[in-house]
């Protein structure tokens, strides 16, 4: 039972890990918490639905164009909402991202309707059995796709010139400018990459959960708790926190009444903030006002 739950938990954890990673990337690059982050997850999933239904591409093939379109969509949000607010206080930017969240949910409702819709995937009906344990094909797709995405991201982040630029901007804006790095361009790139990573999470999880205008928001709250658990601002922390939270939540849900399952991320969020606000990998930052 426990091992079975851990296997399922890893699938949910993969989704949290990707979303938390994307969230922390934007946070580190632009020093802002993007409340519209869940909507980048949702929009990615709806793009894939449109591509599968309209163009009739197979599920796994549709993933690629949907992810690219989601990246472009994130860039548009950065250009028309975030960039004009550069240099203003934290609060207006936070509220603006909340506005983006509501707007996107409204637009999705207008275009695709408010009723939950299934995302057809050939893997949901298949099961891989191994003794007493089993894993659904879609869960396997989630786990493998996420690992691939993390690998691609790792290579990009540590081996490419743009990745170095992203690391530099995340560490020190002024220092990066003085190295000839365009902080604006890197921030735009960060939104594209974050949008793509979030979309992968949305597209792989939707066949299990159904598409819904609010699906991303719920996942965003979980991913936020995961990022705090790992140490907010730490990339490795976001990924670790994501997997950990997915497993904890699924295991708890297996032994306790189902209603408790959805409150697990928030219980963990509160526990971390009270007991160890820096999370697993976070560093204490003392700010002088």
């Amino acid at each position: 039972m426990l091992i079975q739950l851990i296997i399922s938990g890893l699938a949910l954890g993969s989704v949290y890990a990707l979303i938390a990673l994307a969230l922390v990337l934007i946070y580190k690059g632009s020093r802002l918490l993007n409340l519209a982050h869940g909507e980048l997850v949702t929009i990615g999933a709806y793009f894939s639905l449109a591509i599968i239904v309209q163009i009739k591409l197979p599920y796994l093939v549709a993933l690629f164009p949907a992810v690219v379109v989601a990246g472009i969509f994130a860039l548009i949000v950065e250009r028309i909402v975030i960039r004009p607010l550069a240099g203003s206080e934290e609060w207006p930017i936070l509220i603006a991202t909340w506005g983006v969240s509501i707007t996107i949910r409204g637009l999705i409702g207008l275009i695709w309707g408010h009723a939950p819709r299934p995302l057809p995937s050939p893997f949901t009906s298949q099961h891989l059995r191994w003794g007493v344990y089993s894993i659904s094909g879609q869960e396997l797709v989630i786990i493998i796709t996420s690992l691939l995405m993390l690998l691609i991201f790792y290579l990009f982040f540590t081996r490419s010139k743009s990745g170095l630029g992203m690391q530099a901007v995340a560490d020190n804006h002024l220092g990066a400018s003085l190295c000839g790095i365009s902080v604006r361009r890197i921030n735009a790139l960060t939104w594209i990459v974050s949008g793509m990573v979030a979309a992968v999470a949305g597209i792989t999880v939707s066949p299990i959960f159904f598409l819904h205008v609010d699906m991303g928001f719920g996942l965003f709250l979980g991913a936020f708790s995961a990022a705090v658990l790992g140490g907010f601002g730490s990339i490795i922390g976001a990924i670790t926190g994501g997997y950990l939270l997915g497993v904890i939540q699924t295991v708890t849900g297996g032994y306790m009444p189902a209603a408790i399952k959805s409150s697990v991320p928030f219980v963990i969020l509160i526990l971390v903030l009270v007991l160890r606000p820096t999370g697993i990998f976070g560093k204490a930052v003392i700010e002088r006002k």
């Binding site: 530099a168 002024l174 400018s177 003085l178 190295c179 000839g180 790095i181 902080v183």
Partner: protein, 238 residues
């Protein structure tokens, strides 16, 4: 011809004016030093040249081209690099990544390798600490890394903002030796802001003395060194 020409520059921080009517020239080759007490405007000049802060009036020309409206990263691309006050390194990145960030604007692999090897031969300590995070280096090592990172963008003008600040006298002497060595071996033009008057003038060709945001005195190092009364009144050197 002048490499850098500053005309009638007025710079403000909010409502308070930091620089008044600055006129300066930096000719190619050699070290020009900016002297003055804390708050005299030395750092403000360097920040304005790098585009970190904007001048309200006046202009800055680099090789005859106006640069005072450009973004900081564009100014680096044109060939002005700065090791700023506070160093502004990437503390959570390795020494290697810090140095690689210094070469961000460049594409000629062979020249990049040549400069990289040069930096390592000057400062073997960086080679030994390649995989260490920059934040774990000592103050002197961090300063050397900041200067190296700026040098690696292959500038034709290198701005150094108080490289000896916060270092022990021995380390400060070493850093001046480093600056002198860079000038000797590469012929790079260096604009150096310093409070350490005697040491700065000993390696500089000429200097500007700042007082409360104005240029109070300018001339060859020899002239500034000999004019003891002037130094005394402006800089408190006995």
């Amino acid at each position: 011809m002048e490499l850098l020409k500053i005309n009638n520059l007025q710079v403000y921080y909010g409502y308070s004016q930091a620089l008044f009517n600055i006129n300066m020239e930096v000719t190619e080759g050699g070290i020009v030093v900016l002297l003055g007490a804390n708050g005299a405007g030395k750092s403000t000049i360097l920040r304005t040249i790098s585009g970190i802060i904007r001048a309200r009036e006046g202009n800055i020309e680099f090789r005859g081209q106006r640069i005072d409206r450009l973004q900081p990263h564009k100014i680096v691309e044109l060939g002005i690099a700065q090791a700023p006050e506070g160093r502004e390194l990437f503390p959570n990145l390795t020494v290697r990544d810090n140095l690689m960030a210094g070469q961000y604007t460049r594409s000629n692999k062979m020249e990049m390798k040549k400069d990289w090897d040069q930096v390592i031969s000057w400062f073997p300590v960086l080679g030994e600490r390649m995989n260490q995070h920059a934040g774990t280096l000592s103050g002197g090592e961090q300063q050397i890394l900041a200067i190296s990172r700026a040098f690696l963008s292959h500038p034709s003008l290198l701005l150094l903002d108080e490289p000896s600040l916060g270092l022990s006298p021995t380390l400060a002497t070493k850093i001046f030796g480093v600056v002198h060595k860079i000038k000797q071996e590469t012929g790079l033009t260096i604009l150096l802001a310093e409070q350490n008057v005697m040491m700065a003038l000993s390696i500089a060709n000429s200097g500007y003395v700042f007082e409360l945001g104005r240029v109070a005195l300018a001339g060859k190092s020899r002239f500034l060194l000999e004019d003891k009364s002037v130094l005394q009144s402006y800089l408190g050197v006995s």
